[in-house]
C-alpha cells in the first residue's frame, strides 16, 4: 500500500494547485467574528438557516421540541433481543433537554454520539436503568438539527426506524433529530 505521502507526478502537481487555494473573503471573516456572540451561528452571509425554513417550525413557537421518532428499533445482530430506543424532549427555553433511551439489555456499555459532542463516544455515556434493560441519558441541546447514533459496545448503531436515516456517504449509521427550542 502506498501510504508514504508521495503521489504520482500528475496527481501530485494537481494536488499542489489545490493547496494554493486559501483565500479568505474579508466579509466572511467579519461575519465569523460577528457571529461569535450569537446563540446560533446564523450567518450574515446566508441569513435564512435551513431549520428556519422548515414548515413545522411555525408550530414550535414558545412550546416544545420536536420528538424525533417514537419507538425505534435497534437491529444490531449482536443481540438476540432487538434493542429499542425512544427519545423525548422538554423545552426549557433556548436549550432543550432531550432524553435518549435505548433498550439494549445485553449491552455492556452504551454512549451516545452525534454532532452535539463531535461524535466522541467518551463524553456522553448512557446510564443503565434500574430495570437493567434500558439505557438513558438526557442531553441539553439548542434548537437545531443533529445527527446522532448510539455507540454500543464499540459499535455504532443508528435508529433504524427513524423517519430520516440518511446515509452520510461514510458508511456511518446515524439518525437525525430536530430540536425546536421555544425561544422565549
Amino acid at each position: 500500500m502506498r501510504d508514504d505521502g508521495h503521489l504520482p507526478p500528475g496527481l501530485e502537481r494537481a494536488t499542489e494547485l489545490l493547496r494554493d487555494e486559501s483565500h479568505v473573503r474579508p466579509e466572511w471573516r467579519a461575519a465569523v467574528m460577528a457571529s461569535l456572540d450569537r446563540d446560533d451561528p446564523a450567518s450574515s452571509i446566508r441569513p435564512v438557516r435551513r431549520w428556519s425554513m422548515r414548515p413545522t417550525a411555525a408550530i414550535a413557537a414558545g412550546v416544545l421540541c420536536a420528538i424525533a421518532g417514537g419507538a425505534l428499533t435497534f437491529a444490531a445482530t449482536r443481540w438476540s433481543q432487538p434493542a429499542r430506543a425512544t427519545l423525548a424532549a422538554v423545552d426549557t427555553g433556548r436549550i432543550s433537554r432531550v432524553r435518549f433511551t435505548l433498550v439494549a439489555a445485553k449491552a455492556a456499555r452504551v454512549s451516545i454520539v452525534g454532532d452535539f459532542n463531535q461524535w466522541n463516544p467518551t463524553t456522553l455515556p448512557m446510564r443503565r436503568s434500574t430495570d437493567g434493560q434500558t439505557w438513558e441519558i438526557e442531553v441539553p441541546l439548542a434548537s437545531g438539527r443533529y445527527t446522532y447514533a448510539f455507540f454500543v459496545d464499540g459499535r455504532v448503531a443508528r435508529d433504524s426506524a427513524a423517519a430520516e436515516s440518511p446515509n452520510d456517504g461514510f458508511g456511518t449509521p446515524s439518525s437525525v433529530i430536530l430540536v425546536r427550542g421555544g425561544g422565549t
Binding site: 494537481a14 493547496r19 487555494e21 479568505v24 471573516r29 457571529s35 452571509i45 452520510d168
Partner: protein, 192 residues
C-alpha cells in the same frame, strides 16, 4: 485580509495556537481572531473541496469556528488546536452533505475559489486543477475526505484519525483507493 489585533502588550502573531487558545478561554476576542486568521484559509479550502461549493464551505467553516468558540473551554491545550478545529469542521461538512442530498445537482467547479487562487505557473495547470476538482467530486465521500486531509491539508495519519474518528488502517486504505480512483479519472479526463 487580516484585521490587526488590538495592542495588548503581547505579540499574538508570535504565539502558539495553544497560547492563543488559553487567552481565548479567558475571553480574549483578539486571540480567537488570530486563530481564525491562522486557520480560516485551510478550513475554507478543505470545506470547498469537500462540499464542492464555496458558499456551502463558508457556511460550514463559519459554523465550525462558532462551535469552536463556544467549546474553547473544553479544548485541551496539550492537543493540537488545528486537529481539534478540523474535527469540528469535518463533522460540519458531513452534516452539510446530509442536507445536500436533498438538493439537485451540484456545481462542482467553484469559480470564485478558482479565481482567487494563485495564477498557475505552468500552461495546463488550470485544466489539471479543474480535472482534479471534477474527479474529487466523483469519488466516495470518505475517500475524498481522507485524500484532502492527507494530501491537501497535509495532516499525519494520527492527526487524521483524531479528527475523523476513523482508524489509521482504514484511513490509509481510503487514501490509497482515492489515489487510484483519481488517477483513473484524471486519465479519462485527459482522453475525453
Amino acid at each position: 485580509m487580516v484585521t490587526p489585533l488590538a495592542p495588548r502588550g503581547y505579540h499574538a502573531a508570535e504565539m502558539t495556537d495553544a497560547e492563543l487558545a488559553r487567552l481565548a478561554k479567558g475571553g480574549d476576542r483578539s486571540a480567537f481572531a488570530m486563530l481564525v486568521d491562522r486557520h480560516a484559509g485551510a478550513c475554507l479550502r478543505y470545506a470547498t473541496r469537500m462540499l464542492g461549493s464555496r458558499e456551502d464551505a463558508e457556511e460550514a467553516a463559519q459554523d465550525a469556528f462558532w462551535r469552536a468558540h463556544r467549546a474553547i473551554d473544553r479544548f485541551d491545550e496539550t492537543a493540537s488546536f488545528r486537529t481539534w478545529l478540523m474535527q469540528i469542521l469535518i463533522n460540519r461538512c458531513r452534516t452539510a452533505m446530509l442536507h445536500r442530498k436533498r438538493r439537485t445537482a451540484r456545481v462542482v467547479l467553484d469559480e470564485q475559489a478558482i479565481a482567487n487562487a494563485g495564477t498557475p505557473s505552468r500552461a495546463g495547470d488550470v485544466e489539471l486543477r479543474d480535472a482534479l476538482v471534477r474527479a474529487l467530486a466523483q469519488i466516495d465521500a470518505g475517500q475524498r475526505e481522507a485524500f484532502l486531509l492527507k494530501h491537501v491539508e497535509l495532516l499525519s495519519y494520527e492527526e487524521m484519525s483524531a479528527a475523523t474518528g476513523v482508524g489509521i488502517s482504514a484511513l490509509k486504505m481510503r487514501v490509497q483507493r482515492a489515489c487510484n480512483h483519481l488517477q483513473i479519472l484524471l486519465a479519462e479526463d485527459r482522453h475525453a
